[in-house]
C-alpha cells in the first residue's frame, strides 16, 4: 500500500515526460483548416490575364481541381512552381489565386517560369484569401467536383505531400494520370 502511493508521482513524471517527448519536434506551424468538407467560399474576382473575365465559386464545380494561393513575392512559390508545371502537364486542373500581388510582376513570374494554371483569380485585397483561412503563401487546396474543399496544405507542395495528402483522395480514374508524380523520387 505504502509503496504504491509513492509510485504515483513517479508514474506521473514518466507519463508527462513521455507526453512532452512525443510532442517534441511536432509541427506546430501548420494549422488545421476550418474549411475542410465545406464549399469554396463565395467570391467574384477577375482573371489575371484577362480582366474582362470574372470568376465565381462556380468555376470549381464539375471537375476535380487544385486551388493554389501564390504570389510573385513568395519565395516558396518559386520552389514549388516546377512541381505544379508537372502536375499541369499530367492533366490536373490548377486554379491559381494570385494573392496580394502586382499584375506586372505576376505576369513576369508566369512568363519566366511558365503558367501551370487553368484560371488565375486575382485577389489583391486578400478578402477571398481571408474567407479561405489563408495565412500565408503558398497554400494549396484540393476541391472536388461539388466545389467542396477536401484538403488544405500550407507551404510547399512536392511529390511526397502529393502522394500522402492529395493522391489518396482523388478518384481512381485520375490515379492513372498522376502515377508518375507519386513515383517521383522522395526527398
Amino acid at each position: 500500500m505504502r509503496a504504491s502511493i509513492w509510485l504515483i508521482p513517479v508514474v506521473l513524471f514518466f507519463g508527462l515526460a513521455a507526453l512532452l517527448y512525443a510532442s517534441l519536434g511536432r509541427d506546430t506551424e501548420t494549422l488545421p483548416s476550418a474549411l475542410i468538407n465545406k464549399p469554396v467560399p463565395a467570391f467574384e474576382l477577375p482573371e489575371l490575364l484577362d480582366h474582362q473575365t470574372t470568376y465565381t465559386q462556380d468555376i470549381f464545380k464539375g471537375r476535380w481541381s487544385l486551388l493554389n494561393v501564390w504570389g510573385s513575392w513568395c519565395p516558396t512559390c518559386y520552389v514549388e512552381h516546377p512541381y505544379f508545371m508537372q502536375l499541369a502537364s499530367q492533366g490536373i486542373d490548377i486554379v491559381g489565386v494570385n494573392y496580394k500581388d502586382n499584375k506586372a510582376k505576376a505576369e513576369k513570374y508566369l512568363m519566366d517560369l511558365g503558367n501551370p494554371y487553368s484560371e488565375i483569380i486575382v485577389d489583391n485585397a486578400g478578402d477571398f484569401a481571408l474567407d479561405l483561412g489563408v495565412y500565408g503563401a503558398p497554400e494549396t487546396y484540393l476541391v472536388n467536383p461539388d466545389g467542396v474543399i477536401l484538403v488544405r496544405h500550407a507551404g510547399e507542395l512536392d511529390a511526397q505531400v502529393w502522394a500522402e495528402k492529395f493522391l489518396p483522395l482523388l478518384p481512381n480514374e485520375m490515379d492513372a494520370t498522376v502515377v508518375p508524380a507519386a513515383a517521383a523520387p522522395m526527398p
Binding site: 506546430t28 506551424e29 494549422l31 488545421p32 483548416s33 476550418a34 474549411l35 496580394k100 486578400g126 481571408l130 474567407d131 479561405l132 483561412g133 489563408v134 495565412y135 500565408g136
Partner: protein, 137 residues
C-alpha cells in the same frame, strides 16, 4: 517652449499609430476593437495577437475586425467570423469541447488530487503520532 514640447509629443503619437487608424462611430466600438485585437490570435506569427503583430495577415484581420464592428457585429460574432475561417486556433479563449476539456478541467482535477493527497498524508501522520504517543504512555 511648453507648446513646442506638446506639439512634438503629439507628432510622435501620430507616427506610432500611423500604420492603421480605423474610424468608429462610437467610443464603444473603438473599445470593442481594442479588446478584440488582443483576443484574436495571429495565425501566421503564433503567440502574438493580431494587435501585436506586423504580419500582413494580422493587418488584414485588423482591417476586417474594424469593418465588422462598423457593421454592428458583437464581439462574439466577430470571433465567430474568424473562427469559421481560421478554426479555434484564432481565439485566445478556447471554446469548451471534448478536445479542450483537459485544458479547462485539468488544473482543477490536479488541484483536487493534490488536496486529497495532502489531507491523506496529514491524517496518516496524525494517526501515527497518536499511535506513538500511546506506545510511550
Amino acid at each position: 517652449m511648453r507648446g513646442l514640447l506638446i506639439a512634438c509629443a503629439m507628432v510622435l503619437t501620430l507616427a506610432a499609430q500611423a500604420f492603421d487608424i480605423y474610424e468608429f462611430e462610437t467610443a464603444e466600438q473603438e473599445q470593442q476593437y481594442r479588446k478584440l485585437i488582443t483576443e484574436l490570435r495571429c495565425p501566421k506569427c503564433q503567440n502574438q495577437s493580431i494587435g501585436d503583430s506586423d504580419a500582413d495577415i494580422a493587418e488584414d484581420m485588423r482591417r476586417k475586425t474594424a469593418e465588422l464592428i462598423n457593421q454592428g457585429m458583437t464581439n462574439d460574432e466577430v470571433v465567430e467570423y474568424f473562427r469559421a475561417r481560421y478554426g479555434d486556433f484564432v481565439s485566445y479563449r478556447p471554446p469548451m469541447n471534448a478536445t479542450t476539456a483537459v485544458l479547462w478541467f485539468g488544473p482543477a482535477v490536479i488541484l483536487l488530487l493534490g488536496a486529497f493527497g495532502v489531507v491523506f498524508a496529514i491524517r496518516r501522520a496524525l494517526q501515527r503520532n497518536l499511535g506513538d504517543d500511546e506506545e510511550t504512555l
